[in-house]
Structures are given as C-alpha cells and as structure tokens.
Symmetry: C2
Subunit: 503 residues, 2 copies
Amino acid sequence: MRAPVTTASLPWVLLIFLITFHVEALKPHLLGRRSVSRSSSQQRSVFYKTFYFDQQIDHFGFLENGTFKQRYLVNDQHWHKNNGPILFYTGNEGDITWFCNNTVITTFNYFVNGFMWDIAEELGAMLVFAEHRYYGESMPFGNESYSNAKYLNYLTSEQALADFAVLIKSLKKTLPGAQNSPVIAIGGSYGGMLAAWLRMKYPNVVIGALAASAPIWQFPGMVPCGDFYKIVTQDFANSGVNCSKNIRRSWTAISNVSSTAEGLQWLSQEFGLCSLLKEEDINDFKAWLQETWVNLAMVDYPYEANFLQHLPRWPIKVVCTHLQFDTDVSDKQLLHGISQAVRVYYNYTGSAVCLNVSETATGNLGIRGWFYQSCTEMVMPMCTDGVQDMFEAMAWNFQAFSDECYALFGVRPREDWADTVYGGKNISSHSNIIFSNGGLDPWISGGVTKSLSDSLVAILIPDGAHHLDLRFNNEYDPQSVLLTRELEVKYFKQWVKQNTRAQ
Amino acid sequence: MRAPVTTASLPWVLLIFLITFHVEALKPHLLGRRSVSRSSSQQRSVFYKTFYFDQQIDHFGFLENGTFKQRYLVNDQHWHKNNGPILFYTGNEGDITWFCNNTVITTFNYFVNGFMWDIAEELGAMLVFAEHRYYGESMPFGNESYSNAKYLNYLTSEQALADFAVLIKSLKKTLPGAQNSPVIAIGGSYGGMLAAWLRMKYPNVVIGALAASAPIWQFPGMVPCGDFYKIVTQDFANSGVNCSKNIRRSWTAISNVSSTAEGLQWLSQEFGLCSLLKEEDINDFKAWLQETWVNLAMVDYPYEANFLQHLPRWPIKVVCTHLQFDTDVSDKQLLHGISQAVRVYYNYTGSAVCLNVSETATGNLGIRGWFYQSCTEMVMPMCTDGVQDMFEAMAWNFQAFSDECYALFGVRPREDWADTVYGGKNISSHSNIIFSNGGLDPWISGGVTKSLSDSLVAILIPDGAHHLDLRFNNEYDPQSVLLTRELEVKYFKQWVKQNTRAQ
C-alpha cells in the first residue's frame, strides 16, 4: 500500500475530471484533423451565429460592477416563434466552439452536442450554446483573467449559473417571439451538473434539464472514492482476457524496469517517447498512462470517432488485443504490450512521430481553470486500492490536496460547500431533471442512477460511455442510446406541454 | 403633481422597508421601557443560550477566506431529541436580541417571535434564532464592517442565506440528536422573505418555511408601486370619518404655514419639536410624518403594545379621533389635529419632553445596512399619487434612486436581479412555503396573497397588521390570527410527517 497522496502524484488527482474536456473540448484546434465517422449522419453541417452578452463580473457583490463579454451561439433555423422551446446548452469548462473565424456566420461540426441539432426541427426549437466564464473567449478580465488570485475570484459555478440565468432572462425579454418560449437546459459532464443545478436554483428560468453523465454526487461523503477507478477497471476487464490484470501488473514492471539507466532508456524507446525518461519522471509517466486508460473508458464509443485522437470502434477492445497474454510474462514483454496498447490511443492513424508524456501536464487556460475550480468548490475525492481496481493504491487525502491548492492558487477548497449549496443526496424536492448515465462511463460513479421521483428521472445506457446520448445519431448507436434519446425528447415535450398549460 | 423623486426626498424612499425594523428591531435598547400588554400570556419569560458560529465571510469566492462570528440563540427546553423539529428563525436586518448581557443564559421577552415560543412545546421543537450578517453582533469585519465599500461587499441576501444553510448543516452534524431533526424556517418581513428564499434555494436544508408578511413581490415590475401607500391610506380611511382626507390635506397646509418665519415657529411649537424648523427642514418634516403614518399602519394591533413607542389598542382608531373634523377647517386647525394625532404615536404615555423630527433620519448600523441592501438588491419601487393615497404625489424614478445610491455607497442597485435570482412571480415549482399576510399591513402589497399550489399556501389575516401571527398569543387576538397560527402549526406537522416518511 502506497503512502497517501504526495505532491508529485497529486496532479492527476486534480486532472481527473478535466480529462473529459481535455479530450473533447480543451484542445479544439486539434479537431481540425477530425475525420468524420463512417456514418453520413455525422457529416451534416450546422450553422450558428455568434453573439456576446454584457455579463456582470460579480453577481453576488456590488463593489465590482464591471462587465465582460460572454459568448453565446444561436441557431434558430427551426425555431417556431412565440412558443417553440429554447434548448440551452450550459457550457462547461472549454471553448464553446472549436473554431471562431470572426465572421458572424460560420460552419462547424458540433462534436459534443449533435443531439441538440438532431432534435431541433422536431421540437421547433431554438438552440443556444452559452460559454462558461473563464473559458474560450468569455474572459472576465481579458488576457489577465488568469494572472492572479484576485481576477480568478469570480470563477465559480454559482457565478456561471447566474450568467446563464441572466442571459436567458435577457434573451426572452429582447428576442422577438421568445417571451413565451420555455427553456430547457442541456449539458454533459460538468455542463450536465450545471444544467441540473440551473433547474434546481433557477426553476423560474428553465422548465427542465437534461444532465447527461453529470456526476453531481462525486463529492465528499456521497459516494465511495474508489468507484470511479473500479469502473475504468471493469471496462478493461470486460474487453479482453487478462487485460485489466496486465495493466495492474504494469506499475510494478515500470518501477522495476525504470530502476536502472538502461531500463529508463529501454522504456523511452519502447514507448516511442519524444524525450528520454529520467528517474524523476516516472510518476508523471505512470500518471500519463493512468490518464490514458481513463480517457479510453470515457470515450469507449461504438463507432470510430475522433476527439483528441482518432480512435477505432470500441477502442478498449482494440487496446486489449495487445494485453491478452498470460500474466506471468516478463516485465519487458508486459510493457511491450502496454506500449502497443497505448499507441491505439495516441497513434491509431500512425501519424504520430513520438509520444509526449508531458502533453497532458502542460497547462492551458482551460486546464488551469478547471484546476482552480477543483481547488475551490469541485472537490471530488478519488482513490485507488490496486485490488478492486487496476491502479497503484492511493488514498484520498483532503489536507494534502488543500495544501497543494494553496500552493498553486493561494486558495483552499471547501470540502462541504458543494453538498450544502447543491443539495447533495437530498434533492428530491426538485423536479423536471433527467439524469442520463452510461454504464461504461467511469463518471457514472457520481451520477444519479435511480429515479428519485416521477420528474427526477434516471436513465441508464448500459453500453454507453461518457454522455453518448448527447452525440449525433450514428448508425452504430446501440439500441439503448436510441431509446434514451427518444425518452429524453418525450420528457422535453411533456415539460413544454405542462408549461403551456400553466401559462 | 410633484416632480419625481429628488435628492431631498429620496431618504424616505430608502427608509420604507426599514421602518418595520426601525420600529421593532433596530432600537432594541429602547425596549427597556417596554411595559407588557394586558395579557398575562405576554409576561412569560423565555430563556436562550447564545452561541457564535465561525462563518465564511464570502461563500461565493475563495480569495477572501476569513471568517466571522455569527451569533445565534438556542432554546432546547422542549426539544425531543432525534426527531423533534428545529424551528429556525431567519434573522432580519436587526440585532437578534434586544439585550445581551454577556452571560450565557439570560432572560428576555422575544417581542417578534412569540409564536415560536408558544408552539415549541407542542411540536417538541428546538428554537434557533440566527442573526443576519452585518447586524447586531454578527459583523464580518468587526467595528470596521461599515467603514468602506470593500467591507460592505459581503452584505447580500445570498450570503445571508448561505450563512443560514451552512449553520443549519453544522448544527445537524454536531448537535447530538439533531441529525434527523427536520428544520423549518420562520421569519417575518424581510426575515420572512429570507425564510421563503431559504426553502427555495436550499430545500435540502429546510423542509418548509413560514414567510410572515414577506413582500417577496415588492420588486420592479411585479406589483404597482402605489399599492403600499394605498393600503396605508385605507387603514386611516377605515378608522375614522375624514381621517385620511385630513391627512391628505395636511401636506399643503404644512407648505402654506411653513412659507413664513412665523409659520415655521408656530409649526415647531404646535408639534412640540425639540428644535426649531427651518425652511429647508420641511421635506424632512413631511417625511417624518409620512413615516409615522406608515409605522402606525404596520403596528395597528388589536391590543396595547410597546415597540419603539407605547401604543394603545388599535392605535389608528385613536389617532383618527383627532382628525375627524370637517375638511374645510383652517390650515392651523388642521395641523393642530395632526399634531395631536402624531402624539398618539410619539407620546402616548406623556413622557416625551419634545419630538425629534430627525430621529428616524439618524443612521445607526442597522439602518445603514438596510440602506445598503436597498441600494443593491432590495430595489422596492414605491410611489404615491395623492389621489388614491393620502400622500404627496411622488413617482418612482429608478435612475435618480441609483444615482443617490452611488453617492451614498459607491454602488448601484441592479433592478432585475431579485427577479432573476428569487424567481419573481414564477415560483410555483417550489413547495412547502406558507405566505401569511395581514389585511391591514401595507406590506401585503408585495405579498403572496393567493395560494400557488397545494404546498405554496397563502393565508390572509383580514384584521392583522405586520406579521401579527408571529407574535405571542394575546387575549385580544382576533379569531383570524388564532386560526392562522393553528393552520401554520398544522402545516408544520404535515411537513415533519412527510419528511419522516421520506426518510
């Protein structure tokens, strides 16, 4: 059993939740390389207009009365004025577009929210995608937004929710024909948490919410800290003989092999790394591998897709083809398999010249933003034991985490705040929220997986990874996600009907 | 028709909501003179222990990580451990006690919340009275709290609600036997708004709320700005022949009489003022009178009582006995009647040496705090037209108000924020809130007077003034308030039962 969290190993604890967005949203420029999947349904183009809203920097104090430009995107081609709903995407910690060419109208493939585009016509809905403050272009203090603790002080989920609420109220007031349009919040992952919370805190503003793969219970004391990595492990265990077992063995093998200079060199070459590993890099190297397995678990989709990396259908199955050997092979044989497996993720197309271990560790604004949020409100305990999961044992240590945060940002996380402000397990008095979760997605660990009432509905997508339901329809979609999307639309229509009746 | 709001006349616009607390809470030291009313039921003594809780100064940002001591009072003599409810008074803008002698246990007559003491035994309830930040002893920056805009920045209702939520969570966690105790929020006036909002924003923390005389709709665009003063006027019109008519005439009479030096002297003597009126004091003098009439409308109780002033039963009826003459008497005759009427309020006991026009204008921390809140979130439009009410016509002018606020505090009010954050008229998705209102109370103008659902219940007390239902039982209580209290307790029991079943 390893000692609890150390400074060196903490970064991946911080990183965890980010990974989703690291992969899917934080490096949107890489999506220029995107090749569409086999399904022609994913080749459709979508159009939006970009707008900027003058948003209060501080909703909860009046001394700072400055405003910033919050970016939001609108498509109203299918909207039925006067009563057609508005589907409002509650932006998460990333750029709301993958590219903005500074023209008013542009084209893009919205890679996360295909669902919204797919259903717009059926619902006669306007689509609005609102960017989360401190991400993309929506910077409260411009380029200085991340320059100091004072400027970062307004990066909280409460401020972001207030942004959304104020923006929606303004749209309904100013857009001709929008006054009676009911608004439904839709989001995935952290954005899904925001969608649920928007409905909980501002039910006057949104009539309902779809919270896709939203781990609103991944907070202290609500779920076991080890569940997340257990699910990652199960995904690998179920995708090939000995797959998770060999990954579990790999950590010791890495420690063994890297104990000599020759071994470090071998390891670097075997993995085709861009720079030679040093002894002190081994923790980072392990964290990079661990993150890779987690990424794969989140994007284990049934069709070929391209996020940060171009991946095959059911990528974990492909990964596991390289790890099916007996569990008594030598360390180097084992690590050869691991290196082959990792290449499925990093070099499926064969175009990578070398693999960069520090890639996920280099910060960009988005990553730094999520680090800050993790270090303040979004305290999500994670732990491993090496027995029920395939990782090195690591306990959750709040104090060490807090100290790390203080060193990084000069702030300390508040362990109980999310529970108090967002209700924790005690949310049954709310209404009109769909919690959808994928059975393959590690984030289901903190999700709402059982319905809490007739109008707080949990939907399980057994063979779905991270918010699969929010993606464009695809010919390889499993039946479960098709049914899920149907059900979600059914609820949307029901909420709209209820709302019309109440008016 | 007078010009819209001017700088000179603005203070009473700011003052309006405060008056409640000015009378009942902000000058608690004066209550030392209190003589208990005729009913022996009001002579009961109550005991509480005083505690201090380390509360975050800023719940919505992490840069300011300091804490302050929030005061709260507890009585658990009737509490049934393990399941007895906690009645939690959401403190409003005043000292939570009228006297604190720095001992742990003291005796007092809790003048606002007699109701809670009266029902504690029946419900087996613990009573908790939490002080609102920036009032009483609960000062985030000690004596400096009001010294500058930076320190005042954390005086908002959202911060106060978060204080209450965090305190309740902590009490339930740390008090032996409190873990399963359901909590009911109770408050009156602004405190009633807080009680309702606490249930709306933190339904995980309180199972229900009694919002007594809580004008949650007294915000821009929700109710006509003139309703408040219309109700004040009706109270006087219904309490004596020509009563409101003569008050309406008095403003012109004051202008006429005060136009000469002799007239100013006569006026000062006639009203027994402590200092001679000058020409430039006339607006303040009128504002003082106007405030007096409003005060009387709020405390028009069916029994003799002593708040800021000792008053007779149904004080407006007594006031009106001095104003029943014909409406064609001379200015001086009319003003003689007004001076007699005013003395009912300021000198019922005959012990006042002189009347101090500037009394209500002198700031103390509490008044300054409410001014600040009015100048930020609590934007409550008020207007008069001199036709449907008995006051000089004055339009509501948000811009002038905003400018005044900026001059006073360096902050500007946000006109639409309360609507966005607290739901405005669109609150029907919430549950378990009782809105009680008195038919005589001018604040009913902004109250919820019709039930919005089975669990958002409005109760009208036709012959009740400002939160009469929260007061101790009294033998002169009208039947309507007795029934109201019964119904309130019935709902409390129902919520507790629901909660027990849900656990």
